[in-house]
Every structure is written in C-alpha cells, then in structure tokens.
C-alpha cells in the first residue's frame, strides 16, 4: 500500500477506497491545511463555477463575447454601473451579515426573506402613520425594522432551544406566512390608492435614505459597511465572539466550563433576525422608496451564499457582496438585452455554491491513484 505521508502529518493510515483490477483511489485526510492552499483551492472552485455558468449562458443563447461585455466591460466602464453594483451590494451585504451571525452559532436561518418582510412592514408602519417628528423618522424606521425582523425569528429560535425543533424548516415556513401577510397588506389596507400596482404609498423624502453625494449611492452603503465592521468586531474581537467560536469548536467542552450556550444561541439568532429586518429597511427606504410585493426575492440564498463564500467572516463578506452585486446587475442587463429570465442569477449563485462546496473536498483530502493493487 503506497502511503505518502505529508511532513508533520500524523493522520490515520490511508485505506483503500475502491477495489479493481487496474488500481484504486486512495484518500488521505489532511490534518493541517495552510491558508494559502485553502484560498487557492476555493478560488479554483469559484473559477470552475464561473466556467459552468458561462456554459449555461452560452447554452441559453448568449455569446461568449456578450458574457464578457456584460459581466466585465460594462460593469467597470462607467461610474454609473459601478454605483449600480454598489447600490445592489448594500442590502446583499446586510443579509450576508445576518447569515454570518446565525451560522457562527450553527443556527441555520433560512428565514431571511420573512424577516426582511417584517422589517419593512414595521418601517412602513412608522412611515404611513407618521410616527414621531420628521427629523427622527428615519432612525425610528431603522429601529422598527430591526425589531420587526427580530420578532419574526423569536418563535423559531425558542422552538429550537426549548423543543429541539429544526430551525431550517420553521424559519423557512415563516417566510411563506410573512409573504402572505405582506400580500394581505399590499392588496388591502396599505395599498397605494394612486396606483394600480400592489405596493404601499411612496415614502416622503425624509423617510428615504439620503444620497451620499456620488452617483446614486445612498446611506444604505455606509450603514451596511458600519454594520460589517461592528459584526466583525463582535465575532472576532469581543468576548461574545470568543464564546461563539468555542461553542462552534466543541459544544460539550464549552458547556462544561460554563459558557452560556442557550443565551449565546438565542442572542445570535435574534441579532441575525434584526439584521435581516434592517436589510428589508435598506431595500425599501434605500432603493425602492416604498414597500413592494417582491423587494425581498432571492435574498435568503444570496445571504447564505455570501456567508458561505466569506467563511463567516464579516469583512470578507464585503468583497463577496460586491461580487454578488455584479452578478445581480449583469443579470438585470442580460434580462433586458438577451431576454434571459431573472432566475438565471439564482442559478448562477447555486452553481457557484455547489462548485465551491465541492472544491472543499480537495482542501480536506488528498486523493491519489494507486496502480495495480487489486
């Protein structure tokens, strides 16, 4: 049996994986993987995913030159399109941070869209009913959105902690409940009387996030960036983050030495819901200026994707959010100019997650072919 041990590796001995006349694959578990190697392999996974995406696009009738034009040239050729990417990246970063916070304590928050909906509903309530003086209206909407999002995750969080009910299913089911409630509001009491479309009345100027002064970037982007730094501090510097990493690495040990696991999980889940609620506010008050019936679509998976690609690191999430923003903007122009349905963006994201997740196999394992042994 050929055994090529890495220097410094003291793993279990490699075992035969497939038996056959010609030889077999041997798998070794890598015990220590350098950061460089991890990065290279994951980037390779990303490139393979993008290549697979290109193949799908070509099969859908978009030429290779057009793909290059839409995804690279036209994005970086004008400050207008760069700002379009950044406008899109702001809410993406916010939901990505929501996923980062939840995944750090192994809470699978698949209810980001429902929490966005309730965040936006709470903020819109403040706007419609003119709560508070005009000067503090926006901060009030921000806080209301955070509370709305938080309330929408309380039930799944408590059900998981008290009864052990799988949060993946409970958070996801609540998305459908939130969506139907949104439709009830938008087709009923909150419908804009001046419009045939099901959306709320337009926010007043002071209820919308102001422009920062470059192209059409609003305060949504600074808010998202500040949030990213704050979350990074919380998870990587503060005691809270240290506890979270402890629980992630070894829950039994953490419990034994008295880490408050239940409080940690609960507060992380609530924080994740609050951030998602802010994400709803950022879309409604920062981009659309009102609550529409589809403002949240696709953000759950994008948030998960961003947290996954960023390895749950809030600062790396900024970069990934911009990358996903490029996908969104390019997807929109493909829709306009090539009649490629908007679902293509979703497909691209799924392909990237799959190829990057698959590439992790080669981070953790060494595969080699052994000849002749039967």
């Amino acid at each position: 049996m050929a055994s090529r041990a890495d220097t410094g590796v003291s793993g279990p001995p490699p075992a035969p994986r497939q038996r056959g006349g010609f030889g077999r694959f041997n798998l070794e578990i890598r015990q220590h993987v350098s950061l460089l190697r991890q990065t290279v392999v994951l980037l390779a996974g990303l490139v393979i995913g993008l290549a697979a995406t290109a193949i799908v696009l070509i099969a859908a009738g978009v030429g290779l030159g057009a793909i290059y034009d839409e995804f690279v040239v036209s994005i970086f050729s004008s400050s207008m399109s760069v700002s379009a990417v950044l406008v899109q990246a702001a809410p993406l970063l916010v939901v990505g941070l929501s996923a980062v916070v939840a995944f750090r304590v192994r809470f699978w928050n698949i209810g980001i869209e429902g929490q966005m909906i309730f965040g936006s509903i709470f903020a819109t309530f403040i706007a419609i009913h003119d709560v508070g003086p005009e000067s503090v209206r926006l901060p009030l909407m921000f806080v209301a959105a955070a509370i709305g999002g938080m309330l929408w995750i309380v039930v799944p969080a408590l059900l998981k902690l008290r009864l052990g009910i799988n949060e993946i299913i409970s958070t996801l089911l609540l998305n459908y409940v939130a969506f139907n409630f949104l439709l009830y509001l938008l087709y009923g009491p909150w419908k804009d009387p001046k419009s045939a479309f099901p959306h709320s009345e337009q926010y007043e100027a002071f209820e919308r996030l102001p422009l920062v002064g470059w192209e059409n970037i609003t305060w949504a982007l600074p808010i998202a960036l500040i949030l990213a730094v704050a979350i990074w501090w919380l998870l990587n510097v503060s005691r809270f983050g240290f506890y979270a990493r402890f629980v992630d690495a070894n829950p039994k040990m953490a419990a034994a030495v008295g880490v408050p696991i239940v409080m940690l999980t609960l507060s992380s889940a609530l924080l994740s819901g609050a951030i998602s609620g802010v994400g709803g506010f950022v879309v409604s008050a920062g981009i659309e200026g009102r609550m529409t019936q589809s403002f949240f679509l696709g953000y759950t998976f994008s948030g998960i994707l961003i947290a996954f690609l960023a390895r749950s690191n809030a600062l790396i999430a900024i970069l990934v959010a911009v990358f996903v923003g490029v996908l969104f903007v390019a997807g929109q122009s493909l829709q306009v100019f090539y009649q490629i349905p908007g679902s293509m963006v979703q497909l691209i994201q799924a392909i990237i997650v799959i190829s990057v997740a698959a590439s992790e196999f080669f981070v953790r394992h060494r595969v080699h072919w052994v000849r002749g042994a039967g």
Binding site: L159, G164, I165, L172, Y176, F181, Y184, S343, M344, Q349
Partner: protein, 309 residues
Amino acid sequence: MDFLVNWISNVPGFAVPFALAALGLILTEKSGVLSLGAEGFMLMGAMAGVGAVILTAQPELALLVAALAAAMVSMIFAVLVVILRVNQVIAGLAMVFLCQGLTSLIATLEGWTSRAIIGLAKLPIPGLADLPVVGRIVFQQDIVVYLTLPIFFAVQWFLTRTETGLKLRAVGENPEAADSAGINVSLYRTGAIAAGAALVGLAGGYLSVAVAKIWVDGMAGGRGWIAIALVIFARWHPWRALFGAVLFGAIEALIPRVAAVGIQVPQYFMLMTPYVATLLVMIWAAMRGNVRLDEPGALGRPHVREERR
C-alpha cells in the same frame, strides 16, 4: 352533505403530492442522507411533467418523465454528499435553489410557463363509480391516487421485509458497521437518493400534470418543505406519513371551499394555514417526545471510511 362529499372527494388529489414526497424522503433518509432538496426535486418533476405533456400529449408518460428528471438531477446531490462529503444542509439548500433557477430558466426559454395543458384524466372504476357517496370519494379518482396505496405497501415491504431494505436501513443507522459487514455504503446511499428523488419528482409531476394542469415558477409553494416536516412528524414511518399527508390534503382541499360557502376570511390568511399547520404539527410532534430517538442514527452524517476512529 354535498359540501362534505365534494370536499372529501377532493382530499386524495391534494394529499397525493404530500404522501409521495414524504415517502420518497423517508426512503432517502433511511439511508442516513438528510434530503433538504425536496422542494427542488418537486419543482423539477413538475416542470418536466408539463414539458413532457406539451411535447407528447401523454399525461401518464409525463409522470414517468417527471420522476426520471428528478432522479437525474438528484445525482448532482448524490455526487456532492456521497462522494465529495459536502455538508448535507448546504448541498440540500443549493439543490433547492439550483432547481428553482433551472426550472424557471428552462420553462421560460421553452415557452412552457403559464400554458394550460391537458391534464391527467380521472379514471372512474366501472360499476363502482356510480355508488352513492363512496363512488365519488373513492372510485372517481385518477390512476396515481389508485396507485399510491400499493406504492406505500411496496416501499414498506421493501424496507422491512427484504434484505436490500435491511441493508439500506443498516447504512442509515450505522454506516461504519454496515461498511465492516461488506455493504457498499456509497452505492446504497446513491440508490436511496435516486429512488427517493424519483418519488418526490412524481409528486411534483402530479402537482402540475394532474392538479394544477399548468406550470408556473415556484409552483411547489413550499410543499417539499412541508413534506420534510411531515417525515419528522411521522417519525420516518410510512403509514404515519400517509396519515399526515391526508391531513394536509384535507386542509388544502378546504381552502378554496371556505370562501365558496360564504365564510369571510381574507384569502391571504387562508393561504397561510398549511404553513402554520405544519409548524403546529412539528410542535405537537416535539412535545410528544424527542423526535431524535426515532430518526435514522446516522442522519445527516457523511460516511468517510478514512475518518473512522
């Protein structure tokens, strides 16, 4: 009385997608693979079914195509979780979104979206269909409703009475022990994923070809997730899953009839009921005792022979 018969005679049609999907999930999860991709496989089956009806005009054939399409796309999932040992939650979620994007893309490009099709015809049993009450409820259904019970018997028999089924369950309970006994864990899990996805795809195809008779994006509407919850509620037991499916079929069949008899509830609140009911059912199941005691021992745990300790 007429309301009651009308309602009950519609229950099987609404229950069948839940029942078949839950059964497929049980089959997959008995091998220790957590299958969160059900919603995606269902969509794939639904889209492929409509496409096949449009191309061949044969609804029965289309149902087979639906099952086959879902089984094919589930092989991506199998490669990810069985060979590459990707986290099964990530892989399952990615499958849902992959299928959502892919089905919407294919259907839009082919022009299948929102196109009415000839659906699966009812198959009244001669002689029995004219019986009062019972005839309408039991003997005026379509072929899939008639076949659902035999399919349940077959899967239950397979799991409990055949050697292959026993080995499948062994793989799900303790893959290390099964491996030592010479069972090919990867092969059994791959087979269980394909067979389970075929049933989920059949459920999706039934949804589009027999119930809705049309394809629209995302038409599974969370039924795949409800089926996952049903499996937990049923504690991985086929007959209890069938009971749960009938319960949810009854709820869904009731929704359009409440407004018809003049009870004023805003329709969006009615549309919430299946999801709220699912949550309640999960709470009820959890209150009755730890669900984990009944789940396959190795559920969600990849088998890596080289990591045996």
